[in-house]
């Protein structure tokens, strides 16, 4: 069966929700949390925005938004320019969140999040190796995955809340 993207009427609201969620997650990901003598970052958090990207036929717009958010994250996290843009785009092409057949439910979202974050960790590991020219430590990356996974239910809840605000109640469950 060919994969048809969903039709336009609920695409606009969906894109707005996806973009707002990404923006909030980017801001949260670059704030640091100092607790019990440890600095905690949630650098993988914006990937939640990718794996829960709304079903839409506005693919060109989606790619542009994701690319811009990737560059924004690169700049606000003071990392190499283009890194997160690449990671976001690769994930978008591989997991195709905009083309899922059913509306997102928590279990599916969590499963796809785990796939996305594990795949992205491998990408980030090799990109970091390429950038700093020495092998980065893998443990902090795993720590980051666990921390971001702990925040996943909150991000999912936030998405649900944004959907309630911006999308009509009859179309809400289709995004």
């Amino acid at each position: 069966m060919p994969l048809h993207p969903v039709s336009q009427p609920f695409a606009r609201g969906g894109l707005l929700v996806g973009s707002l969620l990404m923006l909030i997650l980017i801001f949260v990901s670059v704030t640091n949390f100092n607790a019990f003598n440890t600095v905690i970052n949630f650098i993988y958090l914006p990937l939640i925005g990718i794996c829960t990207w709304p079903r839409t036929d506005k693919i060109v717009t989606s790619i542009c938004i994701i690319f811009i958010f990737g560059l924004t994250l690169d700049i606000v996290s003071s990392g190499p320019l283009g890194l997160w843009a690449l990671v976001f785009l690769i994930n978008f092409a591989i997991f195709k969140p905009h083309m899922r057949l059913k509306a997102l439910v928590f279990k599916t979202a969590l499963f796809s999040w785990l796939l996305v974050v594990l795949f992205s960790s491998i990408l980030v590991y090799f990109f970091a190796w390429f950038t700093i020219e020495s092998l980065p430590k893998f443990l902090p990356l795993i720590f980051q995955i666990i921390l971001s996974t702990c925040l996943f239910p909150f991000a999912y809840g936030l998405r649900h809340f944004l959907k309630k605000i911006f999308i009509d109640q009859f179309l809400r469950d289709l995004i």
Partner: protein
């Protein structure tokens, strides 16, 4: 690739390939140097900093709760330690006053008062966006050009040196932490006066490289900024020397494991070499003589 078989899919595929090439190109050209679009980066950071600050408010509240719990558990033992330290410090205070008086008189005799310290200006700032990723270790502070902050200024906490200003926006600045792989500062041992370069390595314990005397460094030595090169003020406490798992001497930063919220930016202009100043004067004199010849 990204949709059904239609014209819009072709457009989306083309857009995707274009975005991917652009991102890859930016990544390759910016790798390691981070020098592309410096002005744009500063502007975007300035725009994003109120947003980051807003989202850091609930996080700060959580931090305060965790700090309060931590401090409560330590309070009793710390109180005892502080009381004994207070008795010791009273003796030191008396000695210090005597030394200060002596130093003042000697400086008067030699006519060489320390003007650099007297002119030192500092700005208090809030640090709210520390990033500890495999690529970079940096932080955002909420002061910028409007507060007369300039590139290279030292940023410290009550515990010691934290980093230096890397980029300055209008209302915010990016601080390169001492542990970042691109950070290099000249340091000295308080005990032996030995000099070295402290080089960041993207973990919590920077390396000591290019020492003039490796025997002069021992485990437990207090590490201070040496002020060599004139980029940072001398005498700022950095950390202490420890041995890593391989037995190599590294620096345990004073700011390690501490909650960084308020920082102090020290205004310090790098010292210009006398040759440069002489050249400038000569050029000015030449310019003036040329003007007088014309008239």
């Amino acid at each position: 690739m990204l949709g059904s078989n239609s014209n819009s899919t072709k457009a989306s595929n083309l857009t995707y390939i274009f975005a991917l090439i652009l991102a890859g190109g930016l990544f390759l050209s910016d790798r390691g140097s981070q020098t592309i679009f410096l002005q744009t980066r500063s502007n975007i950071e300035a725009i994003a900093s109120p947003g980051i600050k807003l989202f850091s408010i609930p996080i700060t509240m959580l931090e305060r709760i965790s700090n309060a719990i931590e401090e409560r558990t330590k309070a009793l033992s710390e109180n005892k330690a502080l009381r004994s330290e207070l008795y010791e410090l009273r003796d030191y205070q008396q000695k210090s006053r005597m030394m200060e008086l002596k130093l003042f008189r000697l400086e008067q005799l030699l006519n060489s008062s320390n003007e650099i310290d007297k002119n030192k200006e500092q700005t208090v700032a809030r640090s709210y966006g520390e990033v500890n990723s495999p690529f970079v270790r940096s932080s955002l502070i909420d002061v910028g050009k409007k507060n007369n902050i300039q590139k290279g200024y030292a940023v410290s906490t009550v515990d010691g040196l934290y980093g230096h200003v890397q980029r300055v926006g209008s209302k915010s600045s990016r601080v390169l932490l001492l542990s970042d792989i691109n950070s290099r500062i000249s340091v000295m041992s308080l005990r032996s006066n030995s000099r070295a370069i402290m080089s960041g390595n993207n973990n919590d314990f920077p390396n000591l490289i290019f020492s003039n005397n490796y025997q002069g460094w021992l485990e437990g030595d207090t590490v201070l900024t040496s002020g060599d090169g004139g980029m940072l003020p001398p005498g700022l406490e950095v950390g202490s020397v420890i041995k890593d798992a391989k037995g190599k001497l590294v620096v345990n930063l004073n700011t390690n494991g501490k909650a960084i919220d308020w920082v102090l930016v020290t205004h310090y202009s790098s010292i210009k070499s006398p040759e440069f100043e002489t050249d400038m004067k000569e050029k000015q004199t030449e310019g003036l003589s040329n003007i007088s010849e014309v008239f």
